[in-house]
Assembly symmetry: C2
Homo-oligomer: 236 residues x 2
DNA sequence: GTCTATATCTGGATAGAC
DNA sequence: GTCTATCCAGATATAGAC
Protein backbone atom coordinates (compact mmCIF):
# COMPACT_ATOMS: atom_id res chain seq x y z
CA UNK A 1 0.00 0.00 0.00
CA UNK A 2 1.55 3.22 -1.14
CA UNK A 3 -0.05 6.13 0.65
CA UNK A 4 2.02 8.75 -1.06
CA UNK A 5 0.22 11.47 -2.93
CA UNK A 6 0.82 11.68 -6.66
CA UNK A 7 1.24 15.42 -6.55
CA UNK A 8 4.11 16.62 -4.40
CA UNK A 9 2.99 19.50 -2.24
CA UNK A 10 2.76 20.13 1.45
CA UNK A 11 -1.02 20.23 1.31
CA UNK A 12 -1.17 16.84 -0.36
CA UNK A 13 1.30 15.55 2.23
CA UNK A 14 -0.79 16.93 5.05
CA UNK A 15 -3.89 15.25 3.67
CA UNK A 16 -2.15 11.91 3.28
CA UNK A 17 -0.29 11.88 6.56
CA UNK A 18 -2.37 13.53 9.19
CA UNK A 19 0.26 14.34 11.77
CA UNK A 20 -1.49 17.19 13.49
CA UNK A 21 -4.50 17.69 15.74
CA UNK A 22 -6.46 14.83 17.18
CA UNK A 23 -4.89 12.03 15.07
CA UNK A 24 -1.44 13.06 16.28
CA UNK A 25 -2.43 12.93 19.96
CA UNK A 26 -4.11 9.62 19.39
CA UNK A 27 -0.83 8.41 17.95
CA UNK A 28 0.94 9.68 21.06
CA UNK A 29 -1.65 7.99 23.25
CA UNK A 30 -1.21 4.65 21.48
CA UNK A 31 2.58 4.80 21.64
CA UNK A 32 2.66 5.92 25.23
CA UNK A 33 -0.32 3.90 26.49
CA UNK A 34 1.38 1.47 28.86
CA UNK A 35 3.38 4.20 30.58
CA UNK A 36 0.25 6.05 31.65
CA UNK A 37 -2.19 5.45 34.48
CA UNK A 38 -4.98 7.05 32.48
CA UNK A 39 -6.78 4.57 30.31
CA UNK A 40 -9.49 6.66 28.70
CA UNK A 41 -8.50 8.34 25.41
CA UNK A 42 -11.34 10.84 25.83
CA UNK A 43 -9.69 12.29 28.89
CA UNK A 44 -6.06 11.69 27.97
CA UNK A 45 -5.87 13.25 24.50
CA UNK A 46 -6.41 16.83 25.63
CA UNK A 47 -3.97 16.57 28.51
CA UNK A 48 -1.34 14.87 26.38
CA UNK A 49 -1.60 17.74 23.94
CA UNK A 50 -1.11 20.26 26.76
CA UNK A 51 1.82 18.36 28.25
CA UNK A 52 3.71 17.88 24.99
CA UNK A 53 3.14 21.31 23.51
CA UNK A 54 4.04 23.06 26.76
CA UNK A 55 7.13 20.90 27.04
CA UNK A 56 8.19 22.06 23.58
CA UNK A 57 7.55 25.66 24.52
CA UNK A 58 9.52 25.51 27.76
CA UNK A 59 12.33 23.33 26.42
CA UNK A 60 12.64 25.67 23.49
CA UNK A 61 13.05 28.73 25.66
CA UNK A 62 15.25 27.43 28.48
CA UNK A 63 16.15 23.84 27.60
CA UNK A 64 14.59 20.62 28.81
CA UNK A 65 16.99 20.06 31.70
CA UNK A 66 16.50 23.59 32.96
CA UNK A 67 12.73 23.27 32.74
CA UNK A 68 11.26 21.98 36.00
CA UNK A 69 8.13 19.90 36.28
CA UNK A 70 6.76 22.73 38.38
CA UNK A 71 7.20 24.99 35.35
CA UNK A 72 5.37 22.41 33.29
CA UNK A 73 2.65 22.12 35.89
CA UNK A 74 2.11 25.86 35.88
CA UNK A 75 2.17 26.11 32.08
CA UNK A 76 -0.23 23.22 31.48
CA UNK A 77 -2.48 24.02 34.42
CA UNK A 78 -2.15 20.39 35.52
CA UNK A 79 -1.00 19.75 39.07
CA UNK A 80 2.28 17.96 39.87
CA UNK A 81 0.40 14.87 40.94
CA UNK A 82 -1.71 15.05 37.83
CA UNK A 83 1.34 15.10 35.56
CA UNK A 84 2.57 11.86 37.05
CA UNK A 85 -0.59 10.13 35.90
CA UNK A 86 0.65 10.76 32.35
CA UNK A 87 4.38 10.35 32.65
CA UNK A 88 6.51 7.96 34.67
CA UNK A 89 9.26 10.49 35.21
CA UNK A 90 10.78 13.56 33.64
CA UNK A 91 13.21 11.45 31.63
CA UNK A 92 10.30 9.31 30.54
CA UNK A 93 8.73 12.39 28.98
CA UNK A 94 11.80 13.09 26.87
CA UNK A 95 11.96 9.42 25.92
CA UNK A 96 8.33 9.49 24.83
CA UNK A 97 8.95 12.44 22.53
CA UNK A 98 11.85 10.66 20.88
CA UNK A 99 9.85 7.45 20.56
CA UNK A 100 6.80 9.06 18.99
CA UNK A 101 8.92 10.92 16.45
CA UNK A 102 11.02 7.89 15.56
CA UNK A 103 8.02 5.61 15.09
CA UNK A 104 6.21 8.23 13.03
CA UNK A 105 9.23 8.68 10.78
CA UNK A 106 9.46 4.92 10.47
CA UNK A 107 5.85 4.72 9.34
CA UNK A 108 6.25 7.44 6.76
CA UNK A 109 9.59 6.16 5.52
CA UNK A 110 8.73 2.51 5.17
CA UNK A 111 5.72 3.56 3.17
CA UNK A 112 7.72 5.86 1.00
CA UNK A 113 10.20 3.07 0.33
CA UNK A 114 7.60 1.35 -1.81
CA UNK A 115 7.87 3.98 -4.48
CA UNK A 116 9.44 2.66 -7.65
CA UNK A 117 10.47 5.70 -9.60
CA UNK A 118 13.43 6.89 -11.61
CA UNK A 119 16.35 8.12 -9.46
CA UNK A 120 15.58 11.76 -10.11
CA UNK A 121 11.91 11.48 -9.23
CA UNK A 122 12.67 9.30 -6.29
CA UNK A 123 15.16 11.86 -5.04
CA UNK A 124 12.56 14.55 -5.40
CA UNK A 125 10.03 12.50 -3.45
CA UNK A 126 12.52 11.91 -0.62
CA UNK A 127 13.58 15.55 -0.38
CA UNK A 128 10.12 17.04 -0.55
CA UNK A 129 8.63 14.40 1.71
CA UNK A 130 11.30 14.88 4.34
CA UNK A 131 11.03 18.64 4.33
CA UNK A 132 7.27 18.51 4.69
CA UNK A 133 7.68 16.09 7.55
CA UNK A 134 10.27 18.41 9.15
CA UNK A 135 7.86 21.29 8.79
CA UNK A 136 4.85 19.62 10.31
CA UNK A 137 6.72 18.06 13.22
CA UNK A 138 9.48 20.62 13.54
CA UNK A 139 9.13 20.97 17.30
CA UNK A 140 9.62 17.27 17.70
CA UNK A 141 12.72 17.21 15.48
CA UNK A 142 14.15 20.30 17.11
CA UNK A 143 13.68 18.83 20.57
CA UNK A 144 15.27 15.51 19.66
CA UNK A 145 18.21 17.17 17.97
CA UNK A 146 19.06 19.57 20.79
CA UNK A 147 18.16 17.40 23.76
CA UNK A 148 19.71 14.20 22.40
CA UNK A 149 22.38 14.14 25.09
CA UNK A 150 19.71 13.84 27.77
CA UNK A 151 18.31 10.66 26.25
CA UNK A 152 19.26 7.13 27.17
CA UNK A 153 22.15 5.45 25.43
CA UNK A 154 19.80 3.26 23.38
CA UNK A 155 17.79 6.23 22.23
CA UNK A 156 20.84 8.24 21.27
CA UNK A 157 22.06 5.25 19.32
CA UNK A 158 18.69 4.86 17.61
CA UNK A 159 18.66 8.54 16.63
CA UNK A 160 22.12 8.25 15.10
CA UNK A 161 21.10 5.10 13.25
CA UNK A 162 18.11 6.97 11.83
CA UNK A 163 20.39 9.59 10.35
CA UNK A 164 22.77 6.98 8.98
CA UNK A 165 19.86 5.15 7.43
CA UNK A 166 18.55 8.34 5.89
CA UNK A 167 21.96 9.10 4.39
CA UNK A 168 22.02 5.59 2.97
CA UNK A 169 18.58 5.95 1.42
CA UNK A 170 19.75 9.04 -0.38
CA UNK A 171 23.03 7.41 -1.30
CA UNK A 172 21.26 4.42 -2.86
CA UNK A 173 19.29 6.78 -5.04
CA UNK A 174 22.49 8.53 -6.07
CA UNK A 175 24.13 5.21 -6.90
CA UNK A 176 21.15 4.13 -8.99
CA UNK A 177 21.46 7.39 -10.91
CA UNK A 178 25.17 6.89 -11.45
CA UNK A 179 24.55 3.38 -12.77
CA UNK A 180 22.07 4.78 -15.24
CA UNK A 181 24.57 7.38 -16.35
CA UNK A 182 22.48 10.28 -15.04
CA UNK A 183 24.91 11.44 -12.36
CA UNK A 184 28.68 11.67 -12.76
CA UNK A 185 29.91 13.12 -9.47
CA UNK A 186 32.15 11.37 -6.98
CA UNK A 187 32.23 11.93 -3.19
CA UNK A 188 28.66 10.68 -3.11
CA UNK A 189 28.72 10.09 0.65
CA UNK A 190 29.61 13.71 1.34
CA UNK A 191 26.97 14.94 -1.07
CA UNK A 192 24.39 12.78 0.67
CA UNK A 193 25.49 14.11 4.04
CA UNK A 194 25.12 17.63 2.70
CA UNK A 195 21.61 16.96 1.44
CA UNK A 196 20.62 15.54 4.83
CA UNK A 197 22.09 18.58 6.52
CA UNK A 198 20.25 21.01 4.22
CA UNK A 199 17.02 19.28 5.13
CA UNK A 200 17.80 19.46 8.84
CA UNK A 201 18.35 23.20 8.48
CA UNK A 202 14.65 23.60 7.89
CA UNK A 203 13.89 22.88 11.54
CA UNK A 204 17.22 23.98 13.02
CA UNK A 205 17.41 27.45 11.51
CA UNK A 206 13.82 28.66 11.44
CA UNK A 207 14.91 32.13 12.49
CA UNK A 208 17.14 32.42 9.44
CA UNK A 209 14.50 31.31 6.97
CA UNK A 210 12.14 33.72 8.65
CA UNK A 211 14.58 36.58 8.12
CA UNK A 212 15.11 35.57 4.50
CA UNK A 213 11.36 35.10 4.00
CA UNK A 214 12.04 31.71 2.43
CA UNK A 215 8.96 29.61 1.86
CA UNK A 216 8.86 25.89 2.22
CA UNK A 217 8.32 24.96 -1.43
CA UNK A 218 11.04 27.36 -2.49
CA UNK A 219 13.43 25.78 -0.05
CA UNK A 220 12.50 22.26 -1.12
CA UNK A 221 13.11 23.26 -4.72
CA UNK A 222 16.44 24.79 -3.71
CA UNK A 223 17.62 21.65 -1.94
CA UNK A 224 16.55 19.50 -4.86
CA UNK A 225 18.27 21.77 -7.36
CA UNK A 226 21.50 22.01 -5.39
CA UNK A 227 21.62 18.26 -4.90
CA UNK A 228 21.20 17.58 -8.62
CA UNK A 229 23.87 20.15 -9.37
CA UNK A 230 26.23 18.51 -6.89
CA UNK A 231 25.59 15.22 -8.64
CA UNK A 232 26.34 16.79 -12.04
CA UNK A 233 23.00 15.74 -13.35
CA UNK A 234 22.65 16.18 -17.09
CA UNK A 235 19.07 16.70 -18.07
CA UNK A 236 18.64 14.91 -21.35
CA UNK B 1 48.62 43.90 9.98
CA UNK B 2 47.61 40.81 8.14
CA UNK B 3 48.60 37.76 10.11
CA UNK B 4 47.22 35.29 7.63
CA UNK B 5 49.58 32.71 6.23
CA UNK B 6 50.23 32.78 2.51
CA UNK B 7 49.87 29.04 2.20
CA UNK B 8 46.47 27.68 3.19
CA UNK B 9 46.89 24.62 5.36
CA UNK B 10 45.92 23.72 8.84
CA UNK B 11 49.55 23.60 9.94
CA UNK B 12 50.16 27.13 8.68
CA UNK B 13 46.96 28.22 10.41
CA UNK B 14 48.05 26.59 13.65
CA UNK B 15 51.40 28.38 13.47
CA UNK B 16 49.82 31.75 12.79
CA UNK B 17 47.00 31.56 15.27
CA UNK B 18 48.14 29.67 18.32
CA UNK B 19 44.82 28.69 19.82
CA UNK B 20 45.99 25.67 21.77
CA UNK B 21 48.11 24.98 24.84
CA UNK B 22 49.49 27.73 27.05
CA UNK B 23 48.61 30.67 24.77
CA UNK B 24 44.97 29.58 24.72
CA UNK B 25 44.74 29.41 28.51
CA UNK B 26 46.44 32.76 28.80
CA UNK B 27 43.77 34.10 26.47
CA UNK B 28 41.13 32.60 28.74
CA UNK B 29 42.85 34.07 31.78
CA UNK B 30 42.95 37.55 30.24
CA UNK B 31 39.31 37.43 29.17
CA UNK B 32 38.11 36.01 32.44
CA UNK B 33 40.48 37.88 34.77
CA UNK B 34 38.07 40.13 36.64
CA UNK B 35 35.67 37.27 37.41
CA UNK B 36 38.35 35.30 39.27
CA UNK B 37 39.72 35.64 42.76
CA UNK B 38 43.03 34.19 41.64
CA UNK B 39 45.39 36.85 40.38
CA UNK B 40 48.50 34.86 39.54
CA UNK B 41 48.65 33.50 35.98
CA UNK B 42 51.24 30.94 37.09
CA UNK B 43 48.72 29.25 39.32
CA UNK B 44 45.58 29.95 37.33
CA UNK B 45 46.54 28.69 33.88
CA UNK B 46 46.75 25.03 34.82
CA UNK B 47 43.51 25.07 36.77
CA UNK B 48 41.67 26.95 34.05
CA UNK B 49 42.77 24.31 31.59
CA UNK B 50 41.45 21.57 33.88
CA UNK B 51 38.16 23.35 34.50
CA UNK B 52 37.39 24.12 30.87
CA UNK B 53 38.49 20.82 29.36
CA UNK B 54 36.64 18.82 32.00
CA UNK B 55 33.55 20.97 31.45
CA UNK B 56 33.67 20.12 27.75
CA UNK B 57 34.06 16.45 28.54
CA UNK B 58 31.15 16.35 30.99
CA UNK B 59 28.87 18.65 29.00
CA UNK B 60 29.56 16.58 25.94
CA UNK B 61 28.54 13.34 27.59
CA UNK B 62 25.53 14.42 29.65
CA UNK B 63 24.90 18.08 28.84
CA UNK B 64 25.93 21.17 30.76
CA UNK B 65 22.72 21.52 32.77
CA UNK B 66 22.83 17.88 33.81
CA UNK B 67 26.47 18.17 34.86
CA UNK B 68 26.82 19.18 38.50
CA UNK B 69 29.68 21.16 39.93
CA UNK B 70 30.34 18.13 42.09
CA UNK B 71 30.95 16.18 38.90
CA UNK B 72 33.29 18.92 37.78
CA UNK B 73 35.04 18.96 41.12
CA UNK B 74 35.61 15.21 40.98
CA UNK B 75 36.76 15.30 37.35
CA UNK B 76 39.18 18.20 37.78
CA UNK B 77 40.43 17.16 41.20
CA UNK B 78 39.67 20.67 42.44
CA UNK B 79 37.42 21.00 45.51
CA UNK B 80 34.06 22.74 45.37
CA UNK B 81 35.42 25.72 47.25
CA UNK B 82 38.41 25.80 44.96
CA UNK B 83 36.23 25.97 41.85
CA UNK B 84 34.52 29.08 43.14
CA UNK B 85 37.83 30.87 43.21
CA UNK B 86 37.82 30.57 39.41
CA UNK B 87 34.18 30.98 38.52
CA UNK B 88 31.47 33.19 39.95
CA UNK B 89 28.74 30.65 39.36
CA UNK B 90 27.86 27.76 37.12
CA UNK B 91 26.16 30.05 34.62
CA UNK B 92 29.22 32.25 34.71
CA UNK B 93 31.26 29.30 33.48
CA UNK B 94 29.04 28.82 30.44
CA UNK B 95 29.12 32.55 29.79
CA UNK B 96 32.91 32.53 29.93
CA UNK B 97 33.12 29.80 27.32
CA UNK B 98 30.87 31.74 24.97
CA UNK B 99 32.80 34.94 25.57
CA UNK B 100 36.21 33.44 24.94
CA UNK B 101 35.07 31.81 21.71
CA UNK B 102 33.33 34.92 20.43
CA UNK B 103 36.27 37.19 21.14
CA UNK B 104 38.69 34.74 19.57
CA UNK B 105 36.56 34.49 16.44
CA UNK B 106 36.38 38.27 16.36
CA UNK B 107 40.17 38.52 16.49
CA UNK B 108 40.67 36.02 13.72
CA UNK B 109 37.88 37.43 11.56
CA UNK B 110 38.75 41.09 11.80
CA UNK B 111 42.28 40.16 10.81
CA UNK B 112 41.10 38.04 7.95
CA UNK B 113 38.93 40.89 6.71
CA UNK B 114 42.08 42.74 5.71
CA UNK B 115 42.77 40.33 2.92
CA UNK B 116 42.33 41.91 -0.48
CA UNK B 117 42.05 39.05 -2.87
CA UNK B 118 39.94 38.05 -5.83
CA UNK B 119 36.50 36.69 -4.88
CA UNK B 120 37.49 33.08 -5.52
CA UNK B 121 40.67 33.26 -3.48
CA UNK B 122 38.94 35.22 -0.78
CA UNK B 123 36.22 32.60 -0.62
CA UNK B 124 38.83 29.91 -0.32
CA UNK B 125 40.54 31.77 2.51
CA UNK B 126 37.27 32.17 4.39
CA UNK B 127 36.24 28.53 3.98
CA UNK B 128 39.59 27.02 4.84
CA UNK B 129 40.20 29.46 7.66
CA UNK B 130 36.83 28.81 9.22
CA UNK B 131 37.14 25.07 9.01
CA UNK B 132 40.57 25.12 10.59
CA UNK B 133 39.23 27.32 13.33
CA UNK B 134 36.30 24.91 13.80
CA UNK B 135 38.73 22.04 14.03
CA UNK B 136 41.06 23.56 16.57
CA UNK B 137 38.32 24.91 18.82
CA UNK B 138 35.66 22.37 18.00
CA UNK B 139 34.78 21.72 21.64
CA UNK B 140 34.09 25.40 22.16
CA UNK B 141 31.91 25.64 19.08
CA UNK B 142 30.06 22.44 19.91
CA UNK B 143 29.38 23.62 23.43
CA UNK B 144 28.11 27.02 22.33
CA UNK B 145 25.89 25.51 19.65
CA UNK B 146 24.22 22.91 21.85
CA UNK B 147 24.09 24.84 25.11
CA UNK B 148 23.03 28.14 23.56
CA UNK B 149 19.62 28.04 25.22
CA UNK B 150 21.27 28.08 28.65
CA UNK B 151 23.02 31.38 27.94
CA UNK B 152 21.76 34.84 28.76
CA UNK B 153 19.57 36.68 26.31
CA UNK B 154 22.41 39.01 25.33
CA UNK B 155 24.73 36.12 24.66
CA UNK B 156 22.20 34.22 22.59
CA UNK B 157 21.64 37.37 20.61
CA UNK B 158 25.37 37.85 20.12
CA UNK B 159 25.78 34.27 18.91
CA UNK B 160 23.02 34.71 16.36
CA UNK B 161 24.51 37.99 15.20
CA UNK B 162 27.82 36.20 14.69
CA UNK B 163 26.20 33.73 12.34
CA UNK B 164 24.36 36.47 10.47
CA UNK B 165 27.61 38.38 10.11
CA UNK B 166 29.39 35.30 8.85
CA UNK B 167 26.68 34.70 6.25
CA UNK B 168 27.03 38.31 5.17
CA UNK B 169 30.79 38.03 4.80
CA UNK B 170 30.33 35.09 2.48
CA UNK B 171 27.51 36.84 0.67
CA UNK B 172 29.66 39.92 0.02
CA UNK B 173 32.25 37.71 -1.57
CA UNK B 174 29.59 36.09 -3.73
CA UNK B 175 28.28 39.48 -4.79
CA UNK B 176 31.74 40.68 -5.69
CA UNK B 177 32.15 37.59 -7.86
CA UNK B 178 28.81 38.18 -9.53
CA UNK B 179 29.77 41.78 -10.31
CA UNK B 180 32.96 40.54 -11.92
CA UNK B 181 30.99 38.06 -13.99
CA UNK B 182 32.59 35.04 -12.30
CA UNK B 183 29.42 33.70 -10.67
CA UNK B 184 26.02 33.56 -12.32
CA UNK B 185 23.79 31.88 -9.74
CA UNK B 186 20.83 33.44 -7.99
CA UNK B 187 19.50 32.61 -4.51
CA UNK B 188 22.84 33.78 -3.14
CA UNK B 189 21.53 34.08 0.42
CA UNK B 190 20.52 30.44 0.50
CA UNK B 191 23.82 29.36 -1.02
CA UNK B 192 25.65 31.35 1.64
CA UNK B 193 23.52 29.76 4.36
CA UNK B 194 24.37 26.36 2.94
CA UNK B 195 28.08 27.08 2.96
CA UNK B 196 27.89 28.22 6.58
CA UNK B 197 25.99 25.08 7.45
CA UNK B 198 28.51 22.82 5.71
CA UNK B 199 31.24 24.43 7.75
CA UNK B 200 29.29 23.95 10.98
CA UNK B 201 28.94 20.28 10.16
CA UNK B 202 32.64 19.87 10.79
CA UNK B 203 32.16 20.29 14.52
CA UNK B 204 28.54 19.13 14.75
CA UNK B 205 28.91 15.78 12.97
CA UNK B 206 32.32 14.55 13.99
CA UNK B 207 30.99 11.02 14.35
CA UNK B 208 29.90 11.00 10.72
CA UNK B 209 33.19 12.26 9.35
CA UNK B 210 34.89 9.70 11.53
CA UNK B 211 32.80 6.91 9.99
CA UNK B 212 33.47 8.21 6.49
CA UNK B 213 37.17 8.68 7.30
CA UNK B 214 36.99 12.19 5.86
CA UNK B 215 40.07 14.28 6.50
CA UNK B 216 40.00 17.97 7.16
CA UNK B 217 41.68 19.17 3.98
CA UNK B 218 39.48 16.90 1.90
CA UNK B 219 36.41 18.32 3.54
CA UNK B 220 37.59 21.91 3.12
CA UNK B 221 38.21 21.19 -0.56
CA UNK B 222 34.76 19.62 -0.82
CA UNK B 223 33.02 22.63 0.71
CA UNK B 224 34.97 24.99 -1.53
CA UNK B 225 34.19 22.94 -4.60
CA UNK B 226 30.50 22.59 -3.84
CA UNK B 227 30.17 26.29 -3.13
CA UNK B 228 31.79 27.25 -6.43
CA UNK B 229 29.56 24.78 -8.23
CA UNK B 230 26.48 26.25 -6.53
CA UNK B 231 27.61 29.67 -7.71
CA UNK B 232 28.04 28.37 -11.28
CA UNK B 233 31.61 29.48 -11.32
CA UNK B 234 33.18 29.33 -14.76
CA UNK B 235 36.91 28.87 -14.55
CA UNK B 236 38.36 30.93 -17.36
C1' DG C 1 45.13 29.63 47.34
C1' DT C 2 42.84 25.50 48.54
C1' DC C 3 40.29 22.61 51.37
C1' DT C 4 36.36 20.74 54.50
C1' DA C 5 32.08 21.42 56.36
C1' DT C 6 27.79 23.28 56.08
C1' DA C 7 23.77 26.43 55.08
C1' DT C 8 20.10 26.79 52.06
C1' DC C 9 17.14 25.73 48.54
C1' DT C 10 15.32 23.63 44.37
C1' DG C 11 13.07 20.09 42.14
C1' DG C 12 11.67 15.14 41.30
C1' DA C 13 8.65 12.03 43.12
C1' DT C 14 4.84 10.05 46.08
C1' DA C 15 0.94 9.39 49.57
C1' DG C 16 -3.48 9.96 50.40
C1' DA C 17 -7.72 13.00 50.41
C1' DC C 18 -11.48 13.97 47.44
C1' DG D 1 -8.71 11.11 37.63
C1' DT D 2 -6.96 15.11 39.89
C1' DC D 3 -5.36 17.76 43.63
C1' DT D 4 -2.71 19.17 47.98
C1' DA D 5 0.79 18.37 51.06
C1' DT D 6 5.03 16.50 51.92
C1' DC D 7 9.36 13.91 51.66
C1' DC D 8 14.07 13.91 50.60
C1' DA D 9 18.07 13.58 47.42
C1' DG D 10 21.11 16.37 45.44
C1' DA D 11 22.44 20.90 43.86
C1' DT D 12 24.54 25.67 44.33
C1' DA D 13 26.99 28.51 47.02
C1' DT D 14 29.62 30.13 51.17
C1' DA D 15 32.17 30.39 55.73
C1' DG D 16 36.09 29.66 57.86
C1' DA D 17 40.21 26.58 58.94
C1' DC D 18 44.75 25.73 57.23
Amino acid sequence: MNRWPQTISIDAFRDTWVLEGEPLWRRVFDTHREKMQIKSPQIALGNLEKIFTCTFKLANSKGFQAMSLRDLSRETGISMGGLYAYIGSKDDLAAAIEEVLRKTIDDVMSDQAVIDLSPVHRLKAIIYGDIYMNEIMHQWYYFCYLEAKGLSREQREAAMQMEIKFDERILETFTAGVEQGLFTADRLELIAANTTSMLQQWYLKRWKFGLLATRIDDYAAFVFDITLRNLRYQDA
